[in-house]
């Protein structure tokens, strides 16, 4: 058995401000094998970034351990820092610096000689299509170009593990899609372990992509996106003209199906194969004399998976807590959901 790229054991981080203590990461257990591409998915304030910061030596765990390629990160941070690249939430390249210079500096910091550092920087800059912008101050580049320079900085030392904290936050949809493509390509080409955090569903939503869903500082699901969604099945939604018919239909359907939910004039049925089941349901209800106003079938999304697991929608969790994940360990209260707030299950179940 090879050494895992990352192995956390009961990883915990509690922030204390005054008398209140907030547990951002709660006995988190996670193992990532070398070469994997893993997305840590969760709403803002779920503890994804705090987890990443503990793994990358930026925060000291309150308890528990992190091993990166076998190195205990808290005990030997300097050793751990040689082995990974990091793309944080902010821009890695200084705004007054030229992009290429920053990539070279990073290579020098990792112990390469001048000439080798320059060659390595040019190589990665070319690979990311940044040669035309290499000698411009970073503050004059677009968001997408800056992000690619951040990735160049993260990869110039050819790290065994690359961490990307919310890599596409703040980018427009086209740049986001482009960046996701780049990350997948780089993963295939370099074979490096890559771990990214995101609250964008589409970023984690490739069938074979391993997704670790984190909520309230704990791992609540860990599988491929395909498997997570298959587990939930498809949803057949039936619409009726009035509540009585909907209730009667729901009763009838419960005789054949386990997962039937009523919501006003609509009834939802979870099945393994939505389109086929939809036809059967349609026939059955017609035979029973219940007139149907409309029907939809949909595959489960990762948002459905999250909703199923937590009773909250990932999207709504986002809008509740603001745009970006808490980046400041000194003021943990800012973006974290209020633990005293009731679970908004009813609002989102409709």
């Amino acid at each position: 058995m090879s050494t895992p790229a990352i192995e956390t054991t009961d990883l915990t981080k509690t922030f204390t401000s005054g008398k209140t203590a907030t547990t951002a990461v709660d006995r988190l257990i996670l193992t990532i094998e070398p070469g994997e591409l893993v997305a840590l998915l969760g709403p803002n304030g779920a503890g994804k970034s705090t987890t990443l910061k503990m793994i990358t030596t930026l925060l000291t765990p309150t308890s528990g351990t992190v091993r990166l390629l076998g190195h205990d990160v808290a005990k030997r941070p300097a050793e751990a820092r040689r082995h990974f690249g990091f793309v944080g939430q902010g821009n890695s390249a200084g705004s007054l610096q030229h992009g290429r210079d920053e990539v070279v500096v990073q290579a020098l910091a990792h112990g390469l000689g001048r000439r080798q550092a320059a060659a390595r920087a040019d190589e990665i800059i070319d690979a990311l299509g940044l040669a035309d912008f290499a000698h411009r101050p970073v503050e004059r580049l677009s968001g997408g170009q800056r992000r690619r320079f951040d990735i160049a900085i993260g990869l110039v030392n050819r790290p065994e593990v690359l961490f990307l904290d919310e890599p596409s936050t703040g980018l427009d949809p086209a740049s986001r899609a482009h960046l996701q493509g780049i990350i997948r390509e780089l993963h295939e080409e370099t074979g490096a372990t890559m771990v990214l955090t995101t609250h964008y569903l589409d970023e984690a939503d490739a069938p074979s992509q391993r997704v670790v869903i984190i909520d309230h500082g704990r791992v609540i699901a860990d599988d491929t996106a395909g498997a997570l969604k298959a587990g939930l099945g498809d949803l057949v939604t039936l619409h009726f003209d009035d509540v009585c018919r909907a209730a009667a239909a729901a009763d009838a359907l419960r005789r054949q199906h386990d997962r039937v939910e009523e919501a006003g004039t609509s009834v939802g049925v979870r099945t393994d194969d939505g389109p086929t089941a939809g036809l059967t349901i349609l026939d059955g209800l017609r035979d029973a004399g219940l007139q149907i106003a409309g029907i939809e079938t949909s595959h489960a999304s990762l948002d459905d998976v999250f909703l199923h697991l937590t009773g909250r929608s990932l999207r709504e969790s986002d809008s509740e807590t603001g745009e970006s994940e808490d980046v400041d360990p000194d003021s943990p209260d800012d973006n974290r959901p209020d633990p005293t707030e009731p679970n908004p299950t009813e609002e989102v179940a409709a």
Binding site: L59, R81, N91, S92, H98, D101, A109, H110, P329
Partner: protein, 250 residues
């Protein structure tokens, strides 16, 4: 961590910091013009007029003042980089913590050394005596002192994360009392006892006194030792506080 590693890492950080400065000619011009303006506007007000003797007293003080002002900016430039992600990225690189601090503090000091040379050359025709060895010694002493001040400013920058007002309040509140009580701009000959006492407790007083002697080509052992002691005290405290503050990851 070994000394050669720290030196190599410091030079990486220093070169990175200096690069945008070198690319911005305007900043360089400002850096040179500023002391000239000070000299032109301040020197005529000093008792005795702009005679050689007055210049001999005033110029080293001005160089010291520029050093202090520049070194206290270390933390503000750090805060700019903390607001983006570039400080964070350097923190997770293999660069040693002390070199991140030293490289930044040194970057603020180097332009000041260029300013010192400009001042010395400009005042030369008006009777300022040039003692190369003494000037070299004085600049070296000020550099030691400034790196210490820069490290303290760095720590202040870390402590004021996301609260720029805190940094500026502390920096502005301390800058002028330190300057004035060190007798940099005005002599403290007629000062009341409490002010003299305060002045003696200020390490910068001794650093400036020693710098004046050095620039004048005089080497009285007691004054120079007191100056060196003042600079070393600030340097040691600065590095201890700055590095400790940075190693506390959260």
């Amino acid at each position: 961590m070994s000394i050669p590693t720290i030196a190599r890492h410091t030079s990486i950080v220093f070169s990175r910091e200096v690069r945008p400065l070198l690319r911005s000619p305007f900043q360089m011009v400002i850096a040179v013009v500023q002391p000239i303006m000070f000299l032109a506007l301040f020197a005529p007000l000093l008792p005795g007029g702009a005679t050689a003797e007055t210049l001999q007293w005033f110029v080293p003080g001005m160089v010291a003042m520029s050093c202090l002002a520049a070194a206290t900016m270390t933390g503000s430039n750090l805060m700019l980089e903390m607001a983006t992600g570039s400080h964070e990225r350097l923190l997770v690189s293999p660069l040693t913590r002390s070199s991140l601090l030293l490289g930044r503090a040194l970057k603020e000091v180097v332009p000041v050394i260029a300013q010192a040379l400009v001042l010395v050359l400009l005042t030369w025709p008006f009777g300022f005596a040039i003692h190369p060895l003494g000037i070299l010694g004085g600049v070296a002493l000020l550099a030691l002192f400034s790196v210490g001040v820069g490290a303290l400013s760095f720590a202040l920058g870390l402590a004021s994360k996301h609260q720029d007002w805190l940094f500026w309040t502390v920096q502005q509140t301390l800058l002028f009392p330190v300057l004035l009580s060190a007798g940099v701009l005005l002599p403290l000959d007629g000062a009341p006892t409490w002010l003299r006492w305060l002045s003696q407790a200020n390490p910068m007083t001794h650093v400036v006194a020693a710098t004046r002697e050095l620039f004048a080509g005089r080497y009285p052992a007691d004054t120079l030792l007191a100056g060196l002691a003042g600079a070393v005290v600030v340097l040691v405290i600065g590095l201890a506080v700055g590095i400790r503050r940075m190693q506390r990851a959260d």
